[in-house]
């Protein structure tokens, strides 16, 4: 059984008499123990999607199942109980500013009626886990962004949840702190077996720790699968955009016809061979390297390169054939350098 099952989810908001469709028929499954990324540009509907998982937003149509339980069939009380089994962290941390670190971590336990003494013991364990044992008495305003998010993670874990929802949890952090927080989330996933759902607009977050990814664009699910396969073979415009970090829509196709470009992705084996050098020697025609990059995808180094092809049509085909023969994934692209 999937930890989370979303079926045909549609959410329509009514704002000042206007209706805005935030999500249109989204269906996806998140397996137990997975780290699942949901990525999209801002306004794509991903925040609404993650809030549907714990029913902070009630879907207009469709249903959400947690461990096979349909949330729409739960009483308000049962729903609140279920929410305590789903931890959530946020972009702005959302800590109680007037409570110190340990009281913040105890807070969800206080809500579920755990005795204060037991709550403290549990909170200390968690602060130890996130590496903030010495900050117990500090107030949120005395902490850095990374520390605040660690407190928020400890707080989210207090009630022993089976699922952790992360809503742009690293978007307010610098790259180094982001890496630390993501490392912690990975550790929690491995150590405690918690299913993690990560909402982000940063591709690097997805390639760093997610195993599966869903791409949301304009309220629709446009692509879904293993991170590795979407990274090497993106099909949707949204996926390509997120990978390149540039806008693709609205570019004139005819102007690109002349300077045909391809995106190639090196897997581990091909990364050791001088593929491009061999190619040029064989085809006897230069290619233009517009961009090259290596990324860490699920712990493996994966290289990507954007090549500008020569004008001769037959040479172009020859180059593409050669690259495919070398075992690389080749895809035409409209990305700019």
């Amino acid at each position: 059984m999937s930890a989370i099952e979303i079926k045909n989810l549609t959410k329509v908001f009514e704002i000042d008499g206007d209706t805005v469709t935030a999500l249109k028929g989204v269906s996806l499954n998140v397996e137990k123990g997975d780290i699942f990324g949901i990525i999209g540009m801002s306004g794509a509907g991903k925040s609404t999607l993650v809030r549907s998982i714990n029913y902070l937003e009630r879907p207009t149509e469709g249903s959400v199942f947690i461990d096979g339980v349909n949330l729409s069939e739960l009483s308000p009380k049962a729903l609140r109980k279920l929410r305590s089994r789903i931890g959530m962290i946020f972009q702005n941390f959302n800590l109680l500013e007037q409570k110190n670190v340990i009281d913040n971590v105890c807070f969800p336990l206080e809500i579920s009626g755990v005795k204060k003494k037991d709550a403290r013991v549990r909170a200390r364990e968690l602060l130890n886990l996130v590496g903030l044992s010495d900050k117990e008495k500090a107030y949120p305003s005395q902490l850095s962004g990374g520390q605040k998010q660690r407190v928020a993670i400890a707080r989210a874990l207090a009630t022993d949840p089976e699922i952790l929802l992360c809503d742009e949890a690293t978007s307010a952090l610098d790259p180094q702190t982001t890496a630390g927080v993501l490392g912690l989330i990975r550790k929690i996933n491995e150590k405690l077996g918690i299913t993690v759902v990560i909402i982000t607009h940063q591709m690097s977050v997805v390639t760093d720790i997610c195993r599966h990814v869903a791409i949301i664009d304009g309220g629709k699910l446009v692509e879904e699968g293993l991170v590795e396969s979407i990274f090497s073979d993106p099909r949707s415009d949204a996926a390509k955009e997120l990978l390149s970090g540039k806008q693709i829509k609205g570019v004139h196709r005819d102007s690109l016809e002349a300077r045909r470009k391809i995106r190639i992705v090196f897997r581990e084996n091909s990364a050791y061979e001088p593929v491009i050098a061999n190619l040029i020697l064989k085809v006897q025609s230069p290619v233009n390297i517009l961009r090259a990059d290596t990324r860490n995808v699920g712990g493996k180094a994966v290289g990507e390169m954007i090549l500008g092809l020569p004008e001769d049509r037959s040479k172009q085909e020859e180059i593409i054939d050669e690259l495919k023969k070398a075992g690389l994934s080749v895809k035409e692209t409209e990305e700019d350098e």
Binding site: N54, L56, P76, R80, K81, L82, R83, S84, I86, M88, F90, N92, N94, L95, L96, E97, Q98, K99, N100, F107, P108, E110, I111, S112, Y139, P140, S141, Q142, T159, L165
Partner: protein, 219 residues
């Protein structure tokens, strides 16, 4: 200055403090729940309910639009029914509370509105119900702002209690009117004004210090 005047002034201070704090406390007993209700039923509240909001909103606005001095006279029958007489410091508390409660409700509503929506969302995501959100999140996170509101309200009621002196309300205001105005004893008038200023300063400073001390947001 003779002994009897000093004794009268001390009594006046006592009555003024009694009226001010008596009405603030009674005012909060009514106004705090009303303010919470305004926030909860308001458009961005925990459980928006337009009829409830509109009703409280309407009553608050009506009372707040009547000048205190007129309210004082209008309420004489009510005061007489509750306290048994319409003059003296206990009687003055009735119109003071009626005047303060809607004001307090507004101040409380505005304090609660300032609480970060994200924190409320986080509490809801943890499985908190509305009552827990009010008692454990809203009132806790808004405590500095609520304290500031309390101080402002107390200062306001100190002034209004003095105003009730014109209709025999007791306290320093009463002394100022009876001696300073009707008997032309300017020295007593000046002393009561100075005393009122001192009391006001003490209330305001204590309130400001207390709310700064309660605040853990910036250090």
């Amino acid at each position: 200055m003779n002994e009897s005047v000093i004794k009268m002034l001390i009594e006046g201070i006592g009555e003024t403090l009694y009226m001010t704090f008596g009405s603030v406390i009674a005012g909060y007993i009514i106004g705090l729940p009303l303010g919470i209700l305004l926030y909860v039923s308001g458009g961005k509240g925990l459980r928006p309910c337009k009829p409830v909001y509109k009703l409280i909103d309407f009553i608050c606005n009506i009372i707040r639009s009547i000048p205190f001095l007129i309210l004082l006279i209008l309420l004489i029958p009510v005061t007489r029914a509750i306290v048994g007489q319409s003059y003296g410091s206990t009687a003055t508390i009735v119109p003071l509370v009626v005047c303060a409660a809607p004001y307090i409700a507004r101040v409380v509503e505005s304090s609660l509105t300032d609480v970060d929506a994200g924190v409320i969302e986080a509490a809801r995501a943890m499985g908190a119900d509305n009552f827990q959100i009010i008692t454990k999140v809203l009132l806790v996170e808004a405590k500095t702002s609520l304290m500031t509101g309390f101080t402002i309200t107390t200062g306001l009621l100190l002034g209004y209690s003095a105003m009730s002196g014109t209709v025999g309300g007791g306290g320093l205001g009463d002394i100022a009117v009876r001696y300073g105005y009707y008997r032309w004893q300017t020295d007593i008038m000046i002393i009561t004004v100075i005393l009122l200023i001192v009391i006001f300063q003490i209330i305001q400073n204590t309130g400001t210090k207390l709310s700064a001390k309660l605040d853990h947001r910036k250090r």
